[in-house]
Amino acid sequence: MLRMRSLLPPLLFTLAYAGISLGVTNSYYQLILTLVPVWAVFGLSWNLLSGYTGLISFGHAAFFGIGAYATALGQIYFDISPWLLIPVAAMLGGIAGLLIGFPTFRLQGHYFALAMLAYPLAILYVFEWLGFQEVTLPIKRDAPIAYMQFSDPHIYTLLGLAIMLATIVLTQVIERSRFGMALLAIKQNEAAAEAAGINTLAWKLRAITLSGAIAAAIGGFYVQVLLVVTPQSVFGMLVSAQALTVAMFGGVGTVWGPVIGSVILIPLAEILHAEAGARIPGIQGVIFGLAIVCVILLAPEGLFWKLRDLLRKRNASKATASVTPETAVANVTALKPAARQRAATGEVVLEVRNLSRSFGGLKAVQDVSFKLQKNEILGIIGPNGAGKTTLFNLLNGFLKPSQGEVLIDGRNMSGQRPHVICEAGIGRTFQVMRPFLRMSILDNVVVGAYVRARSDAEARKLAADAVARVGLSAVANRVAGELSTKELRLMELARAIAGQPRILLLDETLAGLGHGEADEVVAVIQQLARDGMTIAIIEHTMQAMVRLVDRFLVLDHGAVITEGLPEVVTRDNRVIEAYLGKKWVGHAAN
C-alpha cells in the first residue's frame, strides 16, 4: 500500500508532463522539454550517491561522459544501435563507479569531493588526446528508428520521461529499503552506521555503481539528443555542476529535489538565453546565477525541504490541540524504577584479555582485562581521559587493539570491522548523539534493526518493538529534530537495541540530562537488564550509577585500578584519589 501511494505522484507527474509535451508542436520547446528529464535523471543519479550518503561528488560528469562517448563511438565505429548501447553504457558507468569508488571512498568530506572532481577532468584530457574533440553521430536515413533517430521530437521527450520515471521509482524503492537507510545512516555518521551493523563500504560501492550506471545511461541518451559530442560538453566542469545545481536547488536527499530543480532551472536558463540574451548578451548568466544564489540563501537544503517544512508548520499549527507531546512523554515516566534481582548467572559473554592500545607514546588503554557476565550491568568509570571511550572503541571495532583479545562468546573478535562485531551481538550508543534529524523516530531506529532483519517489514517490526521498549511509541512518528535531549537519548538507545544485541555498550547515556530525566533513562536501562540484556555503561554521574550497576570497573590512565561492587569501589582510596586527587583521600575517609 505504501508502494502504491508513493508510486502515484511520479506517475501522475510523468503523465501530466507527457500530456504537456504532446500538446507542444514547436520543436524548440520540445527540445527543452526533452532536456528537463535528462538533467533531472542526471541530478537523481548524483542524488543517489551524494544526496543520500552526503559524500559530495563534483565529478559525476565522469560517468555521464563515459556513457555519452560509449554510445557515440559504438555507433560510429561498430554501427551498433543506441537501443543496445545505452544499456551497455550503463554497465560501463557502473564499472567506472566501482573502479572510482573503491579507492576514493578511503577519503571523506572535502577530500572525497576534490578527488571526485579530478576524474572527469582527467578523462576529458584522455578523450582529447585520443582525438575525439568533436564527434558527431552518423545520420541513419534508412533505419532511423533502429538508431533512435526520430523525426518526431516528442518521442525523445517520452523516452526521457520513461527513463526519469524508472529512475524515480528506483530511487523511491531504494529510499525506503535497507539500502536507503544504510546510505542515510552513512550520511549522518559513518562511524555510527558501522557500529549499527552497516557495512558502509559495501553500501557506498553499491550506491556509486548504481549512480554511475544511471548517469552513464542518461549520458548515452543525451548524445542522441545533442548529436554532437565534445569532451567539454560531457566531461566538462559545467556538466558536473549541472547535477549539483539541479539537485541542490530542488532539494538534496529526496527523489523530488532534482526533478523540481530541473523543471525550474533548465527552462529558466533557456528562456533567459532566448529572451534576455538577445537583448543584453550575457545577462542570462547573471540572472541565472542570482536566482540560484537567492534560493540557496533562502532554502539552503533546496526548495523541496523548504516547502515541506512550511507545509508541516502549517499543518502542525492547525493540529496543536489534538497532539500533545506531554501526554506521550508521560509514558516514559510510567516505567517505575524497580529493584532488580542481581542475575549473576556466571556465564561470561564478553571477555577482555590484556587489551592495550597506544597512540604514539600515549598509552590510552593498557593491559585491561575484565569479564562481562550475562545479564549484568557493568559500570565503567574513571576521570576524564582515563580511556573509557577508547576502550569502547576497541570493543566495537572502531580501533584495532595494539595487543590483547576481545572474546565474544569465547570467539576472538579483536580487530574485526565494527559492522561484523555488531552482527556478533554488540550494540552501542555514543557520547555525542547522532540522530537523523529529518527522519521520524521510528525511521531512525529502523536503521539499527537491519543488522538482524532479513526483510524491510521485519526491520520495521523490530524497530517498533525497540521504540516500545524505551517508551517512545506514542511519539514514534515525530521527526527527531523536534525531540528533547532525553527523548533523543532514548531514541539512540532504541536504535542500539533494535539490532537485538546481547551486549549493549552505553557511552555516557545520561550526559546532559536533568535529575528527573536521568532517572527516567535509568529506569529504561534497568528494564532492559531485567529483560535479559547485558550492559556496559560509561558514566560520570556517580550518583545515578551507584543505583544502576551491579559492578564497577574503574579506569585511570588507561589501566584498571579496581573492580568490584559499587559500595566497595566508591570507598576505595585509589578511586577517590583518581577522581579527586591525593589530598582528598584523607577527607573522603571521614
Partner: protein
C-alpha cells in the same frame, strides 16, 4: 513563456494555450513569406560567453552586407524584396548552440538560409539541427569534419583546416626563403587542442613538415584557457627552432603566449612566429599587447580584408570603429552576397530552392573569399578556396599573400 514554463504540472493548460499561441504566430510568419517583401536570413553566432567578440564582429559583417544589398535594390528576382537579418545567440557551449539552432528553426520558419557559428564545434551542433530542418547554412568554420558528414545543407566558404595548412605552409616557406635567403630547418609547434588546431597539426605532422624538410623539435599541446605559457616558451627557447608555429584559438591564450615570447626575448623575429588562425590578428589582441609584440608575426587565415576591399574597410572603421577587417567580417559580409546570389538564382524565397541554388551555383570568381569560384563541390566545399597570409606590420595585420590581394610586401623577420 517565462511564466508558463515555471508553471509545471498545475499550469499545464495555460502553457499549452500560450504555446499554441506561439505556434499561431509562427504560422502567420509563413503566410507573410508568401508575398516576399522581406526575406529573412539567419546569423547564428556566439553573442554571450567567451566567444562573444567574434560573434559581434560577424554581426557587423552581416549588417553591412544586408544594408548594401538592400540599398542596391534587394533581390531583383523577387521584385526587389529586402533581406532581413535574424540574429540568434548560440552561446558558448555545444549544448547551447544546439538549443539555439533548434530555436532558430522552430521560431523562424521562414528563414531561407543562415550563416554561423564561428567555432567549428558550434557549427557542427548547429548544422545537425539545420540539416534535419533542411535549412541551408553557410559557414566560415573550417574543420574538415563539417563537410565530411555527407550533409546536403552545409556550405563551407573557407578552405578546410587541412587544406589551409597544405596551401599555407609551402607559401610560407617560400616567403622565408625569398626574404632571408635560407630555408628554415627546424620547427616548434605550440597548439591548443581545439578541433581546428588538431586538424591542422595532423595535416602538418603527417605530411607537410616532411614535405618541406622541416624537423619538429618541440611539440606542446594545451587545453584552453592557458594559465601559464612559461613552460611552453621555455621549451621553445632551449630548442631554438628556425620557425615557431603558435596556434591559439582564444585571445587570452594568444596574449599570454606572445607576451611570454616577448618576455623571453624571442619576439620581433628572433624566432619567426607563424600562426594558423585569426586569433593572433584579432583587434582585441592589439588592445592588450603592444604592437612590437606582434610585429612580423604571420598567420595563415581563410580570409581577410584585402586589396579591393578598401571601401568596405573604411566603412567598417567609420561605422563600427573596427581598426581592420578580419575574416569574420569579410566572410560574413560575403555570405550575405552569396545568399543574394542564390536567391536570385532560385527565384523563390524558399529554403530548399535556395539550398539547391547553392548546390548548382557557378557564379564565377569570388570577390569576398580568397581564390577559387563561387561554386560548391558535392561535399559543400567551395571550389578552389584559398588562403590569405597576414602579417603584423606596425600594429596592423595586413594581407601579404596572395600577391593579387596583398596590401603590403611581406618581410621575413631576421635573426639578430
Amino acid at each position: 513563456m517565462n511564466k508558463t514554463s515555471k508553471g509545471g504540472i498545475s499550469k499545464g493548460l495555460t502553457r499549452r494555450t500560450v504555446l499554441s499561441g506561439a505556434a499561431a504566430v509562427g504560422l502567420a510568419g509563413v503566410a507573410r513569406a508568401q508575398a516576399p517583401s522581406e526575406i529573412k536570413v539567419g546569423l547564428i553566432v556566439p553573442l554571450s560567453g567567451i566567444y562573444t567578440r567574434p560573434g559581434q564582429v560577424m554581426k557587423m559583417g552581416a549588417e553591412m552586407g544586408i544594408e548594401h544589398i538592400n540599398a542596391q535594390g534587394g533581390i531583383k528576382a523577387l521584385g526587389g524584396a529586402k533581406l532581413k537579418l535574424v540574429v540568434i545567440d548560440c552561446g558558448d557551449t555545444t549544448e547551447k548552440a544546439k538549443n539555439a539552432a533548434q530555436r532558430m528553426v522552430a521560431q523562424e520558419p521562414d528563414l531561407v538560409a543562415a550563416t554561423g557559428s564561428y567555432l567549428s564545434s558550434f557549427t557542427l551542433a548547429v548544422t545537425e539541427v539545420t540539416e534535419r530542418a533542411e535549412l541551408p547554412v553557410l559557414t566560415l568554420s573550417y574543420s574538415d569534419l563539417l563537410t565530411d558528414r555527407g550533409f546536403k545543407y552545409i556550405f563551407q566558404t573557407a578552405a578546410t583546416a587541412s587544406r589551409q595548412s597544405e596551401l599555407g605552409l609551402p607559401t610560407l616557406m617560400k616567403l622565408a626563403e625569398n626574404a632571408s635567403g635560407k630555408k628554415p630547418k627546424t620547427v616548434a609547434m605550440l597548439m591548443d587542442n581545439t578541433a581546428t588546431s588538431v586538424a591542422t597539426a595532423k595535416a602538418l605532422k603527417e605530411k607537410l613538415l616532411a614535405q618541406e624538410g622541416l624537423q619538429l623539435v618541440v611539440e606542446e599541446v594545451w587545453t584552453p584557457p592557458l594559465s601559464d605559457a612559461t613552460p611552453l616558451i621555455q621549451k621553445v627557447r632551449s630548442a631554438k627552432p628556425d620557425l615557431l608555429l603558435f596556434m591559439p584559438n582564444a585571445v587570452s591564450d594568444a596574449k599570454l603566449g606572445l607576451e611570454k615570447i616577448s618576455e623571453f626575448g624571442l619576439g620581433q623575429g628572433k624566432i619567426p612566429t607563424v600562426s594558423f588562425s585569426i586569433t593572433i590578428a584579432e583587434p582585441d589582441m592589439l588592445q592588450s599587447v603592444s604592437p612590437e609584440t606582434v610585429q612580423g608575426i604571420m598567420t595563415i587565415v581563410a580570409n581577410w580584408g584585402s586589396k579591393g576591399h578598401e571601401a568596405l574597410i573604411a566603412e567598417l572603421k567609420a561605422k563600427y570603429k573596427e581598426p581592420w577587417m578580419t575574416q569574420n567580417v569579410i566572410s560574413t559580409y560575403g555570405d550575405m552576397w552569396l545568399m543574394k546570389e542564390a536567391l536570385e538564382k532560385a527565384g523563390k524565397a524558399d529554403r530548399n530552392s535556395v539550398a539547391q541554388a547553392f548546390r548548382t551555383m557557378d557564379a564565377g570568381p569570388s570577390k569576398y573569399y580568397p581564390g577559387g569560384q563561387l561554386k560548391f563541390d558535392e561535399k559543400g566545399r567551395r571550389v578552389g578556396a584559398g588562403v590569405v597570409i597576414v602579417q603584423g606590420q606596425s600594429g596592423v595585420p595586413v594581407t601579404v599573400y596572395p600577391p593579387e590581394l596583398a596590401q603590403a610586401q611581406p618581410f621575413w623577420p631576421k635573426k639578430s
